[in-house]
């Protein structure tokens, strides 16, 4: 039986082989070294690496095999920007500030949950049995912003989830902007916070 795979796809195997942990770690290290001078302001820095993954860019010619590159996403909270760094081997070949919002990282949701726990009602709610947290995007997120919306949900018997409360957290300023608590129809702003729209 003739192969259904094109010669091009067969040649891609080496490019597309799974990213090893050491390869990812090397790429992250190279990206941080490259960005380091820009990450520090007044002797401090606050940033988070969202992760490293294979980046395949379509070459201009059909015959050219794409290079094996690794994309590292860095959230620079201090400078209010998200940066995409592309590493090839040990060399940075592209560094670009993103206009879009990268997906929230697990650590970011955990940090938002910790910040939300400053509200006593939410802290109490989170401890209840069967309550879990799910993130959403509040309002229209602008480049450089990093706002996380959190629902506090409870699973009901019929498998439906009920929204018990919602909170909006700003990871750049590390504070709670707005909260909606059980039995409370409207949104309450925290210390004059400006927020999107709690869903």
């Amino acid at each position: 039986m003739p192969s259904v795979t094109s010669a091009f796809a067969r040649r891609l195997k080496q490019v597309l082989k799974p990213l090893s942990r050491s390869e990812a770690a090397r790429a992250v290290k190279a990206a941080i070294q490259y960005l380091e001078p820009e990450l520090v302001r007044d002797g401090t820095s606050r940033f988070r690496v969202l992760g490293a993954e294979l980046a395949v860019t379509r070459p201009k010619s059909r015959e050219v095999i794409p290079r094996r590159q690794i994309e590292v996403l860095v959230i620079d909270y201090l400078n209010r920007r998200h940066v995409r760094i592309v590493v090839e081997g040990a060399r940075v070949v592209e560094a670009r500030t993103l206009d879009s919002q990268p997906a929230l990282g697990r650590e970011e949701i955990a940090e938002a949950t910790r910040l939300a726990a400053a509200v006593p009602e939410l802290r109490k709610l989170a401890r209840q049995r069967g309550v879990f947290v799910s993130s959403y995007a509040p309002g229209q997120r602008q480049p450089g912003q990093r706002r996380v919306g959190l629902y506090y949900l409870s699973t009901e018997r019929k498998g439906r989830a009920a929204v018990l409360a919602a909170v909006e957290v700003d990871l750049v300023d590390q504070r709670v902007l707005a909260v909606r608590l059980p039995g409370q129809g409207s949104t309450t702003l925290i210390e004059g916070g400006t927020h999107g729209e709690l869903r």
């Binding site: 192969s3 259904v4 997906a103 697990r106 879990f132 959403y136 869903r199």
Partner: protein, 131 residues
């Protein structure tokens, strides 16, 4: 090998493609390098977001003037990112117990041979939830 983000080759019914789910939260199912009978027909395809307009908003949700959620990549107006679920997850707002631990838990690939009444098919299916 990473839990998410690898390119997985599959073939059948004359097709050869790679599929990928780049991350647990905030991605979607991508199909790369689709060859049909050895000929490239698609570089990459996916459905990374969904625009969900509400013709009858419920108690002001979604908010005016658009009455719309944008879910998936770059969610807006109260929208949420896609989360990869295990293949057999129930149709509900699933907690983390139903989240896929690795990409292969989220994706099912089936190959149907050609029969007397229809062509063969290669189907790649994945289950995601908003949130």
């Amino acid at each position: 090998m990473a839990n998410f983000g690898d390119y997985h080759p599959v073939s059948g019914a004359g097709w050869s493609v790679y599929w990928r789910v780049s991350q647990l939260h905030g991605s979607g199912l991508e199909v790369w390098f689709a060859d049909f009978r050895g000929r490239r027909v698609m570089w990459r395809g996916g459905q990374p977001f969904a625009i969900v307009p509400y013709h009858r908003p419920i108690a002001g949700d979604p908010k005016p003037p658009d009455y719309t959620y944008k879910d998936g990549i770059g969610p807006q107006w109260g929208g949420v990112e896609f989360t990869a679920l295990k293949k057999g997850a129930p149709n509900m707002w699933a907690s983390s117990a139903h989240h896929a631990a690795v990409d292969t838990e989220a994706v099912e690939v089936t190959v149907e041979p050609a029969g007397n009444f229809g062509p063969g098919s290669l189907t790649i299916t994945a289950k995601f939830q908003c949130g």
